[in-house]
């Protein structure tokens, strides 16, 4: 810290020096115990493995030793982890444009001058935010079940072959739909609130100049929303790569989802069903690094394009 930061600002009655640190102590302690320490421990474990001597029976026959990069080598060479990672990347590529595109569309419509039912629609579309992922997956899961599904009733009444939305090919989209449903409202509210912060005169003068609502939306509102769009994309991306609850819940209703369908499901299985915490730790470190690289990569890419290399 520079000297100007401490002395330059007006500080008539000075606080004792230790006070800020004391006030920050609860946050720093909790952050250290529940974020830094677990991250460090995960990294440590990822370099360890169990060495079994003899038949692996009795005390002392199983010892923890350094593994070097063995766990990483097997994680990176694991076809199950790669398969689940590719599946989740595809999932993100389908989910993010649909979810954020709909959130943007709804936010622009809520902000448009000639659109009615805004208050009702805003509340209704935001409502799924209050529904936990497990519950949302159960509700949609039942709606997908051929025996219960209203969609199948309608399609069957039309004399068409009834689809199985929980089948091997369509279950991917069934889960995308649950995530869209759960995420669109929150993102809509974030974008809508950003739009509301823009002074209305900007639009008034544009419309006096003869711009249509559509032109105003495309040329003025969307560019203004860019920072919020980028932020919602990054947070959605991080959440997307960690998808776990929805497929795990739907798995109770169908056998077309494997126990390693997403990377997090694989980490969970390795750690808790197969008791291999070391390779689970290595996998989770790999996934964390990929997540960070993707989010920072995205931020770099868009900040260059959206802000001309200038940081916000």
């Amino acid at each position: 810290m520079s000297a100007t930061a401490t002395t330059g600002r007006k500080r008539k009655g000075t606080a004792p020096r230790g006070v800020p640190y004391l006030f920050l102590a609860p946050a720093i302690i909790l952050f250290t115990l529940f974020l830094l320490l677990p991250i460090g421990y995960a990294i440590y474990l990822s370099f360890r493995q169990i060495k079994v001597s003899g038949l692996g029976l009795g005390k002392g026959s199983r010892t923890e030793i350094w593994a070097g990069l063995d766990n990483y080598a097997s994680a990176l060479g694991d076809p199950e982890l790669l398969g689940s990672a590719l599946r989740v990347l595809a999932y993100g590529l389908v989910l993010l444009p649909i979810m954020l595109g709909l959130a943007l569309l709804f936010a622009l419509l809520l902000d448009a001058p000639r659109v009615r039912f805004g208050r009702f629609a805003k509340l209704a579309i935001f409502l799924p935010y209050a529904v936990p992922g497990v519950i949302a997956s159960m509700l949609w899961g039942f709606l997908y079940l051929p025996a219960v599904s209203p969609f199948n009733d309608v399609i069957g009444a039309l004399g068409l072959p009834e689809p199985n939305m929980l089948g091997g090919g369509s279950v991917f989209f069934a889960i995308v739909n649950i995530a869209v449903w759960g995420g669109v409202g929150f993102n809509m509210i974030v974008l809508f609130t950003s739009l509301r912060a823009v002074p209305g005169e900007i639009y008034e003068s544009a419309s006096i100049d003869g711009a249509s609502d559509l032109q105003i939306a495309l040329r003025i509102k969307i560019p203004l929303l860019m920072p919020s769009l980028i932020m919602t994309t990054v947070f959605s991306l991080i959440a997307t790569l960690q998808v776990f609850t929805e497929p795990l819940t739907i798995r109770s209703l169908t056998n077309s989802i494997s126990s390693t369908w997403t990377p997090l499901m694989k980490v969970y299985r390795d750690a808790f069903s197969q008791n291999d915490i070391y390779s689970a730790a290595a996998s989770s470190v790999v996934i964390a690094v990929v997540t960070l690289v993707l989010s920072f990569g995205f931020l770099r890419l868009v900040s260059r394009q959206a802000f001309g290399g200038e940081n916000r």
Partner: protein, 293 residues
């Protein structure tokens, strides 16, 4: 502070300019609303059906079994469902309040004091937002197991008090809502630093902290992975993990599906009620970054 115009005010101002309704736009919004309400409408209808109607009658046709389902649910495992709901309320309520307080004092300190390492501390805390929960889940479990805290309330409560996002929001809010002059005046009057925070800063930050509370409350209420990993005895489950175990048993005992359905409905009602009551305090402009510190 920014002036927050009400939706209606702006709507009237703008409606004055041009009155024709855009039916295309309105229809798209209505379609979106119908899509979002569909599963909710379904669970309301399905909760009134008894086990056999569920699979035979038309999906949205109501049945007559609501009270029967309710008493079935209450008698399952000596009313374990109500224990789950109570546990969820404890986890989310206590966790949310503690999180708002920790975020509040941290945000206030970061906004109102100048001290060595301020930016470094803030940046490290904020980077926590980007840490994927996946990296934390397994080691958190192992570390808590070492100190014998797994399968206790603490295992679910403690890791969720720290909220990097909450601290970030509280800092922005404190910078905008608590004037330096007020803090200095209190200091000149000889008030202690904690007293200034508790009596002057905290009351001014209430709307922002309600937002942090709601945000964390929902995050804890919705969090499935952490309690799923940490807990093994069903009397400590939150409602999400409890219903998940019921659903899994339902694969072999379909009658349990009616319990899952009415249980799902009952579990979302409190959250929706909380939102509707605290709606006016829910400062979404904070989340979207519209309030600048």
């Amino acid at each position: 502070m920014t002036t927050v115009l009400h939706d209606q005010d702006l709507a009237t101002v703008r409606a004055g300019a041009r009155k024709r309704t855009s039916w295309l736009g309105s229809s798209i919004l209505i379609l979106g609303a119908v899509y979002c309400l569909l599963p909710i409408a379904w669970v309301v209808a399905a909760s009134t059906k008894n086990g056999s109607d569920l699979f035979t009658t038309f999906t949205f046709a109501p049945g007559t079994g609501f009270l029967e389902n309710l008493s079935d649910l209450s008698s399952t495992g000596d009313g374990i469902y109500w224990t789950w709901l109570f546990n969820t309320a404890i986890y989310a309520g206590v966790g949310g309040v503690l999180s708002a307080l920790v975020s509040g004092i941290s945000g206030y300190t970061l906004a109102k004091y100048r001290f060595a390492g301020r930016n470094a501390i803030f940046n490290v805390l904020l980077a926590g937002v980007l840490v994927p929960g996946i990296t934390l889940a397994v080691p958190q479990y192992l570390l808590l197991a070492k100190v014998g805290l797994t399968d206790t309330y603490w295992a679910v409560l403690l890791p969720q008090i720290i909220s990097p996002y909450g601290i970030y929001l509280a800092r922005i809010y404190a910078a905008a809502a608590v004037p330096d002059t007020v803090v200095e005046a209190a200091r000149t009057d000889g008030a202690g630093e904690f007293r200034i925070f508790a009596r002057v800063g905290l009351p001014m930050m209430v709307p922002g902290l309600v937002t942090v509370f709601l945000f964390q409350f929902v995050a804890i209420w919705n969090n499935f992975l952490l309690p799923f990993i940490m807990l093994s005895s069903d009397d400590k489950f939150p409602v999400t993990v409890g219903l998940f175990t019921l659903l899994n048993q339902g694969a072999t005992v379909p009658a349990l599906y009616s319990h899952v359905i009415i249980g799902s409905l009952l579990s979302i009602i409190p959250l929706i009620a909380l939102f509707l009551t605290l709606q006016r305090y829910w400062r979404t402009d904070l989340i979207s970054g519209a309030v600048k510190g």
